[in-house]
C-alpha cells in the first residue's frame, strides 16, 4: 500500500512514456536529416525545420506535463468547450484571409511565427468529447436514437468540415475514432456494419466526383505506371524504402530527399527512415508503435471508469490508425492521405496535439496503476519507484 497522492505522479506507465519519448527523439533526428537540404535550399538555414520542430516539442512537453498534472478526469468538464473551440478553429480556417493555402488545401491558420492546423486539434477534441458523451450515456449507448445516431450525425458534420479543407485523411480518422469508441462502448455491431455499408456508395460517389481523389486511387493502384504523374510520390517513396535494405544507407546519407521525394520531412518521413536506417530502423519504429498501442490498451482497460477507458481507447486508436495509415501510404499499401506519422513527422500542431494526447493517455495509465494496486508486478514496480 502506498499514499495515493504521491503515487499519482510516479505511476504513469514508464514503458509508455519511454516509447513515446523514443519516437519523438527519432522524429527530431529524422526531421533534421530529411529537411536539412530543403531547408538550406529554401531558407539558407539547414536547421530551419529542426528549430521549429524543437519549439513545438517544447510546447508539447508543457501541454503533456499540464495534462498529466491535472489528470484526465478534469477533461470531462472541459469536453464541451474543447470541442466547440476546435470546431470554431475549423471554421476559422475557411474564412478567407485567415486560412493559409498550402498544397492546394487550406488547412492552416497562419499566425505570426507559426501556423496552426485545426484538424489536428479537432481529432483530440473529438476523442475527448466522444469519450465524455459515451461515458455519460452509459447503457443508452446501445440504443440507436440516443447512443448511435447523434454521434454519427455529429461525426458526419465534423468530417464534412474536414472535407471542406480537402482533408480526406482527417475526415476518415474522425469516423474511425467514432467507430472504435462506439464499438468499445458496446454499440450494436449490426448498426456499425449497416452504417459502413450505407457509407460505401456515398464514399464512392465522393471519390469519383473529385478528379484528384480518383487520380490518387489510380496512382495508388499503379504507382509505376503513373510514375511521372500522380504516382510520383509513391514511386519515389518505394524507391527510398527499397534502397534502404536491411541496414540503410546511413543516417543523413539518403539520396531521395535530394528533392526527389516531396514532403520528405512531413508525410513521407517514414520513407527517409526506411532509406537511411533500413529495415532495422523500420523495425524499431514499428515495435515502438506496438509498445505504445499495447501500453495504451492496457491503460484503457485498467482505467477506473468508462471515461478513462474511452479516452485511452480513442487515443490509442488515433496513434495506431495514423501510424498504420502513414506507413502504409509510404509503402504503397494505401492511397495518399495526408496523415502525419505520430511523434515523428514534421509539423508543430501535430506534434503538440500528439504529445497532449500522449499526456492524456499517460494520465489514464496512472489511474490504471492506482486501480490495480493489488496486482503483484505492478505493486513491486510502484514500490520500487516509491
Amino acid at each position: 500500500m502506498r499514499s495515493d497522492k504521491g503515487a499519482a505522479r510516479i505511476t504513469f506507465d514508464p514503458i509508455l512514456l519511454a516509447a513515446v519519448m523514443a519516437l519523438i527523439t527519432i522524429g527530431l533526428v529524422m526531421v533534421y536529416s530529411a529537411s536539412a537540404i530543403l531547408a538550406h535550399d529554401k531558407q539558407s538555414d539547414s536547421f530551419f525545420f529542426l528549430k521549429r520542430q524543437v519549439v513545438a516539442f517544447a510546447f508539447g512537453l508543457c501541454a503533456m506535463a499540464t495534462v498529466m498534472a491535472l489528470g484526465y478526469r478534469r477533461l470531462a468538464r472541459l469536453a464541451y468547450p474543447i470541442v466547440v473551440g476546435a470546431i470554431l478553429l475549423m471554421i476559422l480556417v475557411l474564412v478567407p484571409g485567415i486560412g493559409g493555402d498550402a498544397n492546394g488545401a487550406s488547412r492552416w491558420i497562419r499566425l505570426p511565427g507559426f501556423s496552426l492546423q485545426p484538424s489536428e486539434c479537432l481529432k483530440v477534441a473529438w476523442i475527448i468529447y466522444l469519450s465524455y458523451s459515451l461515458a455519460k450515456k452509459r447503457e443508452k449507448v446501445v440504443t440507436f436514437s440516443v447512443g448511435f445516431l447523434p454521434h454519427v450525425i455529429f461525426a458526419g458534420i465534423l468530417a464534412g468540415l474536414c472535407l471542406l479543407q480537402k482533408d480526406f485523411g482527417s475526415a476518415v480518422c474522425l469516423l474511425v475514432l467514432l467507430f472504435s469508441l462506439l464499438f468499445t462502448a458496446g454499440a450494436k455491431i449490426s448498426y456499425l456494419v449497416a452504417s459502413v455499408l450505407a457509407a460505401l456508395p456515398v464514399a464512392y460517389h465522393f471519390i469519383a466526383s473529385e478528379p484528384y481523389r480518383l487520380r490518387r486511387i489510380t496512382a495508388f493502384l499503379d504507382p509505376w505506371g503513373t510514375r511521372h504523374g500522380d504516382g510520383y510520390q509513391v514511386a519515389e517513396s518505394l524507391m527510398s524504402i527499397g534502397s534502404g535494405g536491411l541496414t540503410g544507407l546511413g543516417l543523413g546519407d539518403g539520396r531521395q530527399k535530394l528533392f526527389f521525394l516531396p514532403e520528405a520531412h512531413t508525410d513521407f518521413i517514414f520513407s527517409i527512415v526506411g532509406e537511411e536506417l533500413g529495415l532495422i530502423g523500420v523495425t524499431v519504429v514499428v515495435v515502438l508503435y506496438v509498445i505504445v498501442v499495447w501500453r495504451g490498451l492496457r491503460a484503457a482497460l485498467g482505467a477506473s471508469e468508462p471515461f478513462g477507458t474511452y479516452l485511452g481507447m480513442g487515443i490509442t486508436t488515433l496513434f495506431a490508425f495514423q501510424a498504420v495509415v502513414n506507413m502504409s501510404v509510404a509503402m504503397g499499401l494505401l492511397p495518399t492521405k495526408g496523415l502525419t506519422l505520430p511523434f515523428i513527422s514534421y509539423g508543430g500542431t501535430s506534434l503538440v496535439m500528439m504529445m497532449t494526447a500522449a499526456g492524456v493517455l499517460l494520465s489514464v495509465s496512472a489511474s490504471a496503476q492506482r486501480a490495480s494496486f493489488g496486482h503483484r508486478v505492478r505493486g513491486q514496480l510502484s514500490e520500487a519507484v516509491a
Binding site: 537540404i37 447503457e139 472504435s180 464499438f183 468499445t184 462502448a185 458496446g186 511521372h228 518505394l238 524507391m239 527510398s240 524504402i241 527499397g242 534502397s243 534502404g244 535494405g245 536491411l246 539520396r255 531521395q256 535530394l258 528533392f259 526527389f260 526506411g274 533500413g278 529495415l279 523500420v282 523495425t283 514499428v286 508503435y289 506496438v290 498501442v293 499495447w294 490498451l297 484503457a300 482497460l301 468508462p306 477507458t309 481507447m313 490509442t316 486508436t317 495506431a320 501510424a323 498504420v324 506507413m327 502504409s328 509503402m331 499499401l333 490495480s372 493489488g374 496486482h375
Partner: protein, 676 residues
C-alpha cells in the same frame, strides 16, 4: 485480471467492453504486422529492383575522357593541344515544351531546329544541345535558368601553329578521336584512358558530388614528340608554297631529312589547311602526300644508277659514254634527251641529266643489279613511318631493256617523297641508309616512355667511297652547265639532282604532257647535314626541276644551315668561281672555329612573319601575362580570339597588348617561357 473480480465485479457490459478493446487491439497489432511485413518485402525482397530504379535517377555515370595528349615538335613547341570548352546538354524530360525550346535554341545557337528536336526526342533524358559551344551560346543557355540544361567541359583540339605541319598532325574530330595524320596514327596513345565516375545529381538535375576527384595525370593521354622542327617546317612550307604558286603548280611537297639520323626535320605539303577549322577543307586536301603518296620520281633516280654502277665496278668515273645526239632507240622505243649530247663522263651525265647515257649505264649494270640496288636504297618497301596508308611504291623488275632504260631515269616506277629523301640520305651518309622517322617519342603523362625511335641504320647500300664520289659528281649539277645552277648557295657546297618526270595519264594510258618537277639536294656537300627534297606537281610556267624546285631548295637550305648550326663551306664573301674545287680541310677547320651558333636567328624571322597586325575592332585583348599556356589559350578562345603560341610554359609577353580593341577572330601572339 481475475483478482480484480473479487474487489469490484465488473458489470456484464464492462466485460464485453474488455473483449471489444482486446479485439481492437488485435486488429491494430495485425495492421502493424502487415506494415512490417510490407517493409520486409520492400527492403529485403524488392530491394535490388527499387535500389537500381533509385540509382537510375540520381546517379549519372559520367564519362570523363582523358585530356588528349599534346603533340610537340623536336624542341617541345606544342603543335597540337587540347583545351577545355563547354558543351551544352539537356534533359528533355524536364522541359515543358521541348519542341518550342528546340526552336528557340536552334535560332540562338545556329543549329538545325529539326535535327535538334529529333535529338531531344531520341534522348529522353539526355541529349547534346551543342558540343564545344561558343561562350555566347553557353551564356545564353545559362540565362534561361532552366534546370533541364547542363554543361560539360569537353576538350577541344587546338592547333596553336595553325597551318604549320597540318598534314603531318592531321585532325582530331569533335569526339576527340583522330581522323587523319598522326592524330589518327597515334590515336590510342593520345586518347588515354576514359575514366568513369559516378556523379550524383538531385532531382533538379544539378550535379552534386562526385566520388572523389580524379588524378589529373590519369586523365591525360600520352604526348607525342616529333622529329619535325617548327622553325624548319615553317621555312619549308613557305618556300614550297612560293615555288608552287610561282610555277602555277597544282600541288607540292617538300621533305627535309637529317641523313645521319633519318629524322624528318620538315615534311610539307601544299596546299595547306588550318586544322582549327577543318570544315573549310576538302578531305583529299588533308592528306599527307609527302609521306603517303607515291609518284614517278624521274631523273633524281639517275644518281642511284651511277652509284650502283660505280659500286659494282661496271663503270669508272673516267669512263665516257656516247649520248647519241639526243635520241636513241631501244627495241621499239626511242629515248630522248632534252638537249643533244655526244660523249659524257658519268659526272657529266648527272650534270646535264642525260636520259640516254643513264640508260646505257643501267643496261651495262644489268636488270638484276638495278633491281637489287633500287631495293637496297629502300624503294618498293614502306619507309616505316608507321603512318596509316603509307605507300610503298612499286618498282617492277625490268624484264626488257626498255624498262631497264626507263627505270634508269626514274620512269616506270614509283616512290614516296620520304623514300626518295631517305635514299639520298644514304648517299649523303657515306652509303648507309637510315630508317626515316617522324615520331621521336611517345611519353605517358607520368613520364613513362611508351615508344622511342632512335636513329636506325637499315643497311649499307654502297661503300663510303662510292657515296663520296657520287656526291661530288652531284655537286656539278648546281654549277654552271648543270641542270640546277639556281640551287647553288654562296656559303655552302650543294650536291643535288633535278627531276622532271612525265606524269602517267591514268585515263588514256601512257604519259601525258603534265610534269612533276623536283629537286633533291644535300648540304653541305662535304658533310651533308640535311637532305632537302622539293617537288612541284604540274608546274605550268616552267616544267624543269632545276627552274621550278631548285630555288625553293635553296631558300630552305639557306635557312636550315645556320639554323642547324652548320659551318659554312666557304667564306660568304668569296665569289662562286673561287670555290668550284674542293675545300682545303685545314681552312675549313679554321672557319668552323670562327662561326658560332647562329641558330636562333631564323626562328625569330619566322616568328616575325607569323605575327600579323590585328585590325581594330570589337573584342578587347585580355591580359594574359604570367598565365599558364593552357589557361591563356582558353581565355583567348573565350574572347573569340585566335591564339598563336611561341614556346611553352607561361606567357611572358603578348601581342597585341592587353586592352587593345581588335576584331573578333584576330590573332594574338603569346610568347611563353618555362617557369624558372
Amino acid at each position: 485480471m481475475k483478482d480484480l473480480k473479487g474487489l469490484s465485479a465488473p458489470e456484464p457490459s464492462q466485460r464485453w467492453m474488455r473483449l471489444r478493446v482486446r479485439l481492437l487491439g488485435a486488429i491494430f497489432f495485425a495492421l502493424l504486422c502487415a506494415v512490417f511485413a510490407r517493409a520486409v518485402e520492400l527492403q529485403i525482397f524488392d530491394r535490388e529492383r527499387l535500389e537500381s530504379m533509385a540509382r537510375d535517377q540520381y546517379v549519372r555515370e559520367i564519362e570523363m575522357p582523358a585530356r588528349r595528349g599534346d603533340i610537340f615538335d623536336r624542341r617541345g613547341v606544342p603543335l597540337a593541344q587540347s583545351v577545355e570548352v563547354d558543351s551544352i546538354w539537356v534533359d528533355p524530360s524536364l522541359l515543358d515544351d521541348p519542341a518550342q525550346m528546340a526552336r528557340i535554341l536552334a535560332k540562338k545557337l545556329n543549329l538545325d531546329a529539326k535535327e535538334l528536336a529529333e535529338r531531344m526526342e531520341r534522348g529522353r533524358r539526355f541529349a547534346w544541345v551543342k558540343r564545344q559551344a561558343r561562350p555566347e551560346d553557353v551564356a545564353f543557355v545559362r540565362s534561361l535558368k532552366s534546370r533541364a540544361f547542363g554543361f560539360a567541359k569537353e576538350p577541344r583540339r587546338f592547333y596553336p601553329q595553325r597551318e604549320l605541319a597540318a598534314h603531318v598532325l592531321g585532325l582530331a574530330g569533335m569526339d576527340g578521336h583522330g581522323l587523319e595524320g598522326l592524330e589518327l596514327a597515334f590515336d590510342d596513345e593520345l586518347t588515354g584512358e576514359v575514366s568513369r565516375i559516378d556523379g550524383f545529381r538531385d532531382a533538379r538535375g544539378r550535379k552534386l558530388l562526385t566520388q572523389g576527384a580524379i588524378n589529373p595525370i590519369d586523365r591525360q593521354g600520352a604526348s607525342v614528340t616529333l622529329t619535325i622542327d617548327r622553325g624548319l617546317q615553317y621555312v619549308t612550307e613557305k618556300a614550297l608554297s612560293r615555288a608552287v604558286v610561282e610555277a602555277k603548280g597544282v600541288a607540292g611537297m617538300a621533305v627535309v631529312l637529317d641523313p645521319k639520323t633519318g629524322e624528318l626535320l620538315a615534311l610539307a605539303n601544299y596546299p595547306g589547311f588550318n586544322p582549327n577549322t577543318p570544315k573549310d577543307t576538302d578531305h583529299h586536301q588533308l592528306r599527307n602526300r609527302a609521306a603517303l603518296d607515291t609518284f614517278e620520281p624521274g631523273s633524281t633516280f639517275k644518281s642511284f644508277v651511277v652509284a650502283a654502277a660505280l659500286e659494282e665496278g661496271v663503270i669508272r668515273p673516267d669512263d665516257i659514254f656516247y649520248c647519241e645526239q639526243g635520241a636513241w632507240t631501244v627495241g621499239r622505243h626511242t629515248i630522248h634527251d632534252s638537249h643533244p649530247h655526244e660523249w659524257l663522263t658519268p659526272k657529266k651525265v648527272l650534270q646535264v641529266s642525260s636520259n640516254i647515257c643513264a640508260a646505257k649505264i643501267a643496261l651495262k649494270l644489268g636488270a638484276a643489279n638495278l633491281a637489287k640496288y633500287y631495293a637496297a636504297f629502300g624503294f618498293g618497301q614502306r619507309a616505316g613511318l608507321a603512318l596509316p596508308g603509307e605507300g610503298k611504291g612499286t618498282v617492277p623488275y625490268p624484264r626488257a631493256d626498255i624498262y631497264v632504260a626507263t627505270q634508269a631515269f626514274g620512269q616506270g616506277l614509283t616512290a614516296t617523297a620520304v623514300q626518295l629523301a631517305a635514299a639520298y640520305g644514304a648517299l649523303a651518309n657515306g652509303g648507309v641508309l637510315m630508317r626515316p622517322y617522324l615520331v621521336s617519342k611517345v611519353t605517358d603523362p607520368d613520364g613513362v616512355v611508351l615508344l622511342e625511335n632512335r636513329p636506325t641504320p637499315v643497311r649499307r647500300v654502297i661503300s663510303a667511297r662510292t657515296a663520296k664520289t657520287v656526291v661530288s659528281m652531284l655537286e656539278s649539277v648546281v654549277e654552271n652547265g648543270g641542270t640546277a645552277p639556281r640551287a647553288r648557295m654562296d656559303a655552302y657546297r650543294v650536291a643535288g639532282k633535278t627531276g622532271t618526270a612525265q606524269k602517267a595519264d591514268p585515263v588514256a594510258g601512257g604519259y601525258s604532257d603534265k610534269r612533276i618537277a623536283s629537286f633533291i639536294g644535300m648540304v653541305p656537300a662535304e658533310d651533308p647535314r640535311a637532305v632537302i627534297l622539293v617537288v612541284v606537281d604540274e608546274p605550268k610556267t616552267d616544267v624543269y626541276g632545276g627552274l621550278v624546285a631548285a630555288p625553293a631548295f635553296k631558300e630552305i637550305a639557306e635557312a636550315a644551315m645556320p639554323y642547324l648550326g652548320v659551318t659554312p663551306s666557304r667564306p660568304v664573301a668569296a665569289g662562286p668561281e673561287a670555290t668550284a674545287v674542293s675545300v682545303n680541310p685545314k681552312s675549313a677547320a679554321a672557319r668552323r672555329a670562327s662561326s658560332s651558333g647562329p641558330s636562333v636567328a631564323v626562328p625569330a624571322v619566322a616568328v616575325a612573319a607569323l605575327t600579323e597586325n590585328a585590325p581594330a575592332g570589337d573584342v578587347r585583348v585580355p591580359d594574359l601575362s604570367g598565365k599558364a599556356g593552357r589557361e591563356a589559350i582558353a581565355r583567348l578562345l573565350a574572347a573569340s580570339l585566335e591564339p598563336r603560341v611561341e614556346g611553352s610554359g607561361r606567357v611572358v609577353s603578348q601581342s597585341p597588348p592587353a586592352g587593345t580593341w581588335v576584331a573578333r577572330g584576330a590573332k594574338v601572339r603569346l610568347d611563353m617561357e618555362p617557369r624558372p
